[in-house]
Amino acid sequence: MTVTGTNVGYDVDTVRKDFPILERTVHDGRRLVYLDSANTSQKPRTVLDAMEEFLSRHNANIHRASHALGEEATEAYEAARLKVARFVGSADETEIVFTKNISEAINLVAYSVGNASTLGTGDPRLRVGPGDEVVITVMEHHSNIVPWQLLCERTGATLKWFDVSEDGTLDMSRLDELVNERTKIVAVAHQSNMLGTINPVRLIAERAHHVGALVLVDAAQSVPHRGVDVRDLGADFVGFTGHKMCGPTGIGVLWARRELLDVMPPFLGGGEMIETVEMERSTFAPPPHKFEAGTMPITEAVGLGAAVDYLTELDRDAVDAHDQDLTAYALDQFAGVEGLRLFGPADAADRGPVVSFEVDGVHPHDVSQVLDAEGVAVRAGHHCARPLHKRFGVTASTRASFYLYNTRADVDALVAGLAQVKRYFG
């Protein structure tokens, strides 16, 4: 069995050496086969070092300390913002708002819209109420469902959603009906975290803009893997989360068109987001600071900046090709596993490196437990996409996800583990 893929320009063995955690073993000396990167990715040495260097040499609060360290810290934090902006194709770094994760980024938009709606003044695009519609899809992560449900409850707007077809692609046949002149917001995942499906975001955005609606793209699963250009997507808001893209936990990103950030009311109030505060009322700092209340996760932002550097140096296309190769290889191997039902597109070209499946007659918890005993880490459950699981008639699935440090040998370990599962539960 050869472990090198067809992607000749990419040396996965060298990449693996960048990730200290991959050297460790689990359960009495078994090699760690980490297939849960869609949940959270591992972190390269450069990210760990950047965070340690920041804390041990430059640590201070930002934007408010007028001393050497304060200036260095502010510079490091703002440099991270600039890197992230360039990474997703934004020429204006004030379009990047740091949050604690993508869940907070989506909530920021939903609550800002909610605030605009209760204030009843300001930009009409941000005001929703009875008779207005918010459109999502059944494919969303709970983080891109619940904030919109709450917004609709608060404002009296109606929630609508796209269904998926049996093959795991979004059912686009009702696009014009679902996205209509009543639609104010469309929120959709770039890539499904269960099915791996890559959605036609541009097409949806075109229709949404045609009817005057705003578009939010949940890019948590796509940004880690392939080059995402926010302008190309045609969206108004794009969210992603640091910990799935080689960065630390505690830092997420909202990109939004500056023109929108200018007119959006704040989400969280507090220190650093203001211009001036009187006892009666306050005025606010310009974006992005208007949306960054209180002391931010500074070290984590620096870590994310280092993660972005790491991914950029690896070459995004090479990473994408590597992930795709593994996905194709896994789908190929799965075809030989009896009783395995794959969810989502059958062709690797139509999906990201996430493969969810069911093993006939064995509950995902039991599948993952046996795999874990073999050193293979996968996720079992509904992966925060309960409506989507329900859509496919299951309460849970087992999910393996691949990233830049995985190898074909990892896929082989998974397939061998599935044979063990059957020995136990067959």
């Binding site: 359960h27 509950h363 995902p364 918890h365 459950g381 509904h382 699981h389 309460t395 849970a396």
Partner: protein, 151 residues
């Protein structure tokens, strides 16, 4: 990792051939419980005659541990007084919280001693407790219904 300590033969037997499964009439209370992290679900009915547990019937979706535990639980509580059954429940809870160090009393827990290994797997303890939690809730509701009816 010794999977066999988790998946004891008794557990796999109950999983493959669950006892008392299926929803039955008559019943005094019905509850529905879910495990929010994995989506496992159980619907459970309890029938009491005075203090005596006459029937516990259930329908469930879930992993081997949760299914087997519900099956074993029904064997343990049906035919007992509520108070006795609650003592068994307490003993099982303690076993689950023992982090692998519990010394279960086979007199009290019978087949449920096989779950001793589960206490070493924090992610699975909730699975083993799902049916028991539903049982406790259903009995409480039955008692409420009774006290309402007699007051």
């Amino acid at each position: 990792m010794h999977l066999d300590s988790l998946y004891q033969e008794i557990i796999l037997d109950h999983y493959r051939h669950p006892h008392n499964k299926g929803l039955r009439e008559p019943y005094d209370a019905e509850v529905h419980h879910v495990n929010p992290t994995c989506g496992d679900e159980v619907t459970l009915r309890v029938r009491l005659d005075g203090d005596k547990v006459v029937d516990v019937s259930y329908d469930s979706l879930g992993c081997s541990i949760s299914q087997a535990s519900a099956s074993v639980m029904t064997d343990l509580v049906v035919g007992k007084d509520v108070e006795e059954a609650n003592e068994v429940h307490q003993a099982f809870l303690e076993l689950m919280q023992s982090r692998g160090a519990g010394e279960p009393d086979e007199e009290v827990l019978e087949d449920a001693v096989a779950f001793a290994g589960v206490s070493r797997y924090p992610a699975r303890i909730k699975c083993a407790l799902l049916g028991w939690m539903a049982w406790k809730d259903a009995v409480a509701r039955t008692m409420d219904n009774v006290s309402e009816a007699t007051s």
